[in-house]
Symmetry: C2
């Protein structure tokens, strides 16, 4: 016998497709929206309906932009240094770096990391566009800001290998102790890198 | 400087209003939907838009029903015993009890539990309707299936006090050891109730 109304089951089923959302959370979200002001569900519905339509990719940096922008403001703004480029995996890495307030260069979003196991080859990332951009814009430094993981490291090395003959300086984010972590709780690789990269006071 | 497109920020903001969803999860959901087939976001959007419109409350049991149903099929079906009523806090408790396959009575959804701290008084729950229903349908047994919490217990006692003069039998779900839990890990209240309610083999 049907226990829940169809409209509620549909919301629960759709919510369950989100990453990490199980049946319990999906039920909780759906019931919360049902008990709340209908405007809350309405706002979420209309924002989702517009999601794909109103978003585009910057043809230069591959960051996400509004459809009515031609190019990312983080590239076109005269305050940004086009000769300094941070190479990142996805658009949220741009947000994280912007939040530091310590970077005035531009970005290049790879849209993934090289991972043969997941079928992600260098050709499926925006690496060729990066090579072209480095030449066109006369880029002086590429900061490869990929994660400190196996895929992040191998992508960094692959990108570096594309610029062997160029004069562009290629750097990688420093690896070491995160702020606030007790040394006794640091994993051995992190602590090893921190020792390796030690600096005079 | 605007870092993310407006359409994405809107989805992230709306997602963050769901219970237990923080900024990171909201970003993850939004980015997942953006990278997925647009149909996925579309389905979620249309299910949400229909949520409030297509759902109604059963005037007898206060369970959730489709708008085009007049009464809950869990009440109207001739296979359900209308003289046995399980009193529950919310519509998902109905789902949980139905899933046991061991209950052939009908339900009464209170829509909350008495909780003076949260401003929930007996009048804001469907208790008066329950009293009326018990008389009209000649209910013989009320199983009060509220949580084993302070609010659940006090709601159960309040409901029982409404039927002092009636001949209706009022029962409460058994409390004791959940299946699969090691005795050494049981909390003392649960174990205490299990001892109190022990049964001959």
């Amino acid at each position: 016998m049907k226990v829940l109304p169809k409209a509620l089951t549909l919301v629960i089923d759709s919510m369950q497709k989100l990453p990490g959302v199980g049946p319990r959370s999906a039920e909780r979200y759906a019931y919360f929206l049902l008990k709340s002001d209908p405007r809350k569900a309405g706002e979420l519905a209309s924002s989702l309906a517009a999601l794909h339509e109103d978003i585009s990719y910057c043809p230069k940096t591959f960051a996400l932009i509004d459809k009515d922008e031609k190019i990312s403001p983080l590239y076109s703004s005269p305050s940004r240094n086009k000769q300094l480029v941070a190479v990142v995996e996805d658009p949220f890495d741009v947000v994280a770096i912007e939040n530091t307030g310590q970077f005035s260069g531009t970005y290049h979003v790879l849209n993934g990391l090289i991972s043969p196991i997941d079928g992600i080859s260098p050709e499926s990332l925006h690496i060729n566009e990066l090579v072209k951009r480095v030449r066109e814009d006369g880029v002086k430094e590429l900061i490869i800001a990929t994660n400190a993981s196996v895929e992040g490291e191998s992508t960094a090395h692959y990108i570096a290998s594309q610029f062997d003959d160029d004069k562009v300086k290629i750097t990688r984010l420093a690896q070491g102790m995160p702020i606030g972590l007790d040394i006794e709780y640091a994993d051995q690789i992190t602590l090893g890198r921190a020792i390796e990269g030690r600096k005079p006071i």
